[in-house]
Symmetry: C2
Subunit: 553 residues, 2 copies
């Protein structure tokens, strides 16, 4: 019989876990040594655990199945926690393999000894297990895969003591049986159909698994036949969009705007989504953003088949043959004018976005215009920051590119954000992944300057302000990228950016473009922010009109 | 009355917490805004939380008092966890301020919502508290400072909901009363004196607070008068050493060697130290490294005054006037020969180490020769990797330089290690800290190649080996450093390294030298490792002789 590590490896591959994003240490050496015994397992080395966990997240978003991570005890798990949090919030399946000291070594409290399970509970509330014996290891692994793959996807954490890994007597297990998800039952579907037929102002709010093509088409048919609105949650895990697919308005990040979007909704129907909630709390402002009289309904939960539920709903409403509204093919023009801005970068991306791209948006304040400028671009997948823990985008790009080697990946990343997992660049280079990274360098935590105003902390002095700027020195991302083996260029004009993007998209492999841009909101009075965003963020005209009425003098 | 954040700020300053290493987000904006109200609080922005926590660790090692960190919810704490682990294992005081959502926002499970306390328990088993009201906040903060500063130092975590921070009615508190630590009681001291007087082979093992000058001198007097040995723990939090101080042999990292060091010890006396334990477990090898018959005794615990206990012991043995053995002034010569090696880098550091330096050793396998080559260099402080979570050295350098602005800091860091918290370089540049970083670029996780052999995983194939190498592409740390604003040079010859080091030490401010070196152990048969290390690692001749007898054919 093989040792634990080898048996585990073949069990994982059998269960469909075919990629492992690794950052190993000594306690994981037998797992590492077992890699060569499993031709079906690809191992991708990352230089920081947050890269490994974010890559596993991006991989699973595109394949729908979990990758493994290989992490080094509690500290390695800690380093990976932020992106596991993003995966948890995005309902993304991941199987963490966290190496631990041999069981007999634990009582000696060696340097790396810590309580791994307490850390893991933060991201794996439903499945944390320390495998107790080599004989049981593969059953534990199958349970972990099952926990991760169930709908909704979850982060499962299997702690693997070194002696369980090196012990003889591993017993490979067959893959877990995972029942297909069911759509909403008839009673629920009929009740929702009645709500929609009531004549009150209703809207569908799509999240999670309801943002793929089938679900979007079903929702768009319901909307077309019944004159209701369709919203998407603010931060989709993965959303199919672009020309030929139904356009869906996303709930805005800013609570002030989101409240306006849903202001006239009386019946909000949730499809694998939560009612919209403010990202942060602000003094004197509400957390729940729906209007007071609005009734909440649930068509389908994260445990159910969202597309199937929407299709049942369309049939119940006689809308399954309705003609859905689809986004027309409509790229923005080539941006003009010498001065480069974040808006022009987003416009250039919309202008040049290749077919079938994967677009990763972690541009924070610099990405405000991206949804509008890509709405009619060729069909693509959008990946966003699901849990608010910045540093997700570059690792996600690794995973997405490994999941879909034939699709171009574009990652739009803020400067502050990029630094959390900047080590990603090395893995992009090592694996020759076809990823174009665009870093918006505005030399500040721009969004925090907005937030400082929003929380009402207006007395901020120079020490406070200095906590939000990234100048002195200004980071040079092109240099940093070159230092990690990624070809890079730093551009300050619109034309240079366009040329750099054309060049990057024309060849396979990783590249980085550092766009030197002013903060998106500089020179604009922040008090006018809701108005400004109302006219910029792809919001429909009626909302912009309401905002103008509210704010204009 | 001030708001919670302002009251907290003045309470922290009153309690001696005068530096805050920050990586804030929206939920911490009132804390940030309050910074300008407290002239006694210095705020140091870090671009990644692991930098902030490691900087707080380095600061406290050099000042003996805690800094604060400012972290953004559970994910920010997660990112900071590895270096908090190192601080916990090193018994270093830190006060974490972890921002959280406003209390009324928590039930809405917004994107960044997670269970912060479960993460915190990993590093703060004795003090995790979520402050429940503005009125109680400053009492909570004083309790946190008290928990952190008690002997031994601890990582205390205070979770600060945004509304507790922004609420009016903060009540600043006076500093906590912290009783001075007591030395060991007379009965214990007399019992240990009897053990030493018994004629059996005894040794002192010094750790924690027993590695400062007073403690070392007292231990050296006891040793000189009684003919016993003195060891230091493997990874000191902070150790004073160099010419004019007692030389102390550190227990080796490799269990094979450590066992030999203590092979003839019959009575091991612990002074703020644990009995030596293998760093990792290995199949068929013991975890506890003292010989079977060896008796363990404790002179003083981490809760007690280690130097005072050793001084009492010296008096009890009539050794308080004995002449301690001191390290003679003896720098190594200037390294020669064109080819640069890790050994020559260490030799050059010993050759050029400035007076009163702070030496941070996270060079892993490349630093094997550092203890020997700096043993007779001018007096300095040594800081090492206390918890095994790599990525400590560069952040520690930030904190040490802020704690001791008039002392030169040298940080020797392995290439793999450097990447975990590479964002540190930006803060070094921004704060103009006098730190010389030396990165050993051997393009591999060199120590893991050793460990792969040690754990007996010898069947490793190409996939396994590729998890341990850092080539394809080889990192260029000089470029990366320049990208973060730190002047840097990459050198491949001995003379170039010497010139770069001379130049870096001649001027104030940060600099980075990337030393291109082969893996320390390349070309040597790993089976001979114990012998090789026995002759290299500053071990005394008798041990080298024992090793030779054991291993020579």
């Amino acid at each position: 019989m093989p040792n634990g590590a080898r048996a585990l490896m073949s069990t994982l591959v059998n269960a469909g876990v075919e990629v492992c994003f690794t950052n190993p240490g000594t306690s994981e050496m037998h797992f590492v040594a077992a890699l060569d015994s499993a031709p079906g397992m690809r191992a991708v080395l990352c230089l920081f655990e947050g890269v490994a966990t974010g890559a596993a997240d991006g991989y699973a978003r595109m394949t729908g199945k979990p990758a493994a991570t290989l992490l080094h005890l509690g500290c390695g798990l800690g380093n990976g926690l932020a992106n596991l949090h993003n995966a948890r919030k995005g309902k993304v399946p991941i199987v963490n393999i966290v190496g631990d000291h041999a069981t007999h070594h634990v009582p000696f409290d060696a340097q790396l000894q810590s309580d791994i399970e307490t850390v893991a509970r933060n991201v794996s509330p439903t499945f944390v297990r320390t495998s107790r014996s080599t004989a049981e290891l593969c059953r534990d692994a199958v349970d972990a895969v099952k926990a991760a793959r169930g709908l909704p996807g979850k982060v499962a954490t299997l702690i693997l003591p070194a002696d369980v890994s090196w012990g003889e007597g591993g017993v490979p297990e067959p893959p877990p049986q995972i029942p297909p998800p069911e759509p909403a039952d008839d009673a629920t579907v009929n009740a929702i159909a009645s709500v929609i037929g009531s004549g009150r102002s209703a809207a569908l709010l799509l999240g999670g698994g309801a943002l793929g093509e089938d679900a979007l088409l079903a929702a768009a048919r319901v909307a077309a036949a019944n004159g209701i609105k369709v919203f998407a949650e603010t931060f989709p895990t993965r959303m199919e969009r672009g020309a030929g697919l139904p356009p869906v308005e996303r709930i805005a990040y800013l609570a002030e705007l989101a409240s306006v979007q849903v202001a006239d909704i009386e019946e909000l129907i949730l499809v694998d989504a939560k009612a919209p909630v403010s990202f942060f709390a602000y003094p004197g402002k509400k957390s729940l953003l729906v209007p007071d009289g609005c009734k909440l309904h649930t068509l389908s939960t994260p445990e159910q088949d969202a597309a199937g539920s929407l299709e049942k709903l369309a049939r119940a409403l006689g809308a399954d043959q309705a003609t859905p509204k689809l986004a027309p093919q409509a790229r923005p023009g080539r941006p003009r004018g010498k001065k480069l801005t974040a808006e022009k970068v987003c416009k250039a991306v919309g202008h040049l976005l290749p077919d079938n791209a994967i677009l990763i948006d972690e541009a924070i304040s610099s990405g405000l215009m991206l949804p509008r400028f890509t709405a009619g671009a060729p069909r693509h997948d959008l990946i966003t920051l699901t849990g608010g823990a910045i540093g997700q985008g570059l690792p996600n790009a690794i995973g997405a590119a490994i999941a879909c080697p034939d699709r171009p990946v574009l990652a739009l990343i803020g400067d502050g954000t990029a630094m959390y997992t900047i080590q990603s660049l090395w893995t992009l280079a090592r694996e020759s992944l076809d990823v174009t990274c665009i870093i918006f360098n505005n030399a500040s935590y721009s969004v925090l300057n907005i937030e400082l105003e929003r929380v009402g902390a207006e007395e901020a002095g120079p020490k406070a302000r200095s906590q939000l700027d990234l100048n002195g020195p200004i980071l040079n991302f092109a240099r940093i990228a070159e230092g990690m083996g990624v070809p890079a260029t730093r551009v300050s004009t619109t034309e240079d950016f366009l040329q750099a993007l054309e060049s990057a998209l024309a060849k396979r492999g990783p590249s980085l473009i550092e766009a030197m841009v002013p903060p998106t909101l500089s020179g604009l009075k922040l008090k006018l922010l809701p108005h400004v965003l109302g006219s910029l963020d792809g919001l429909p005209r009626p909302i912009a009109r309401i905002l103008k009425r509210k704010i204009a003098p």
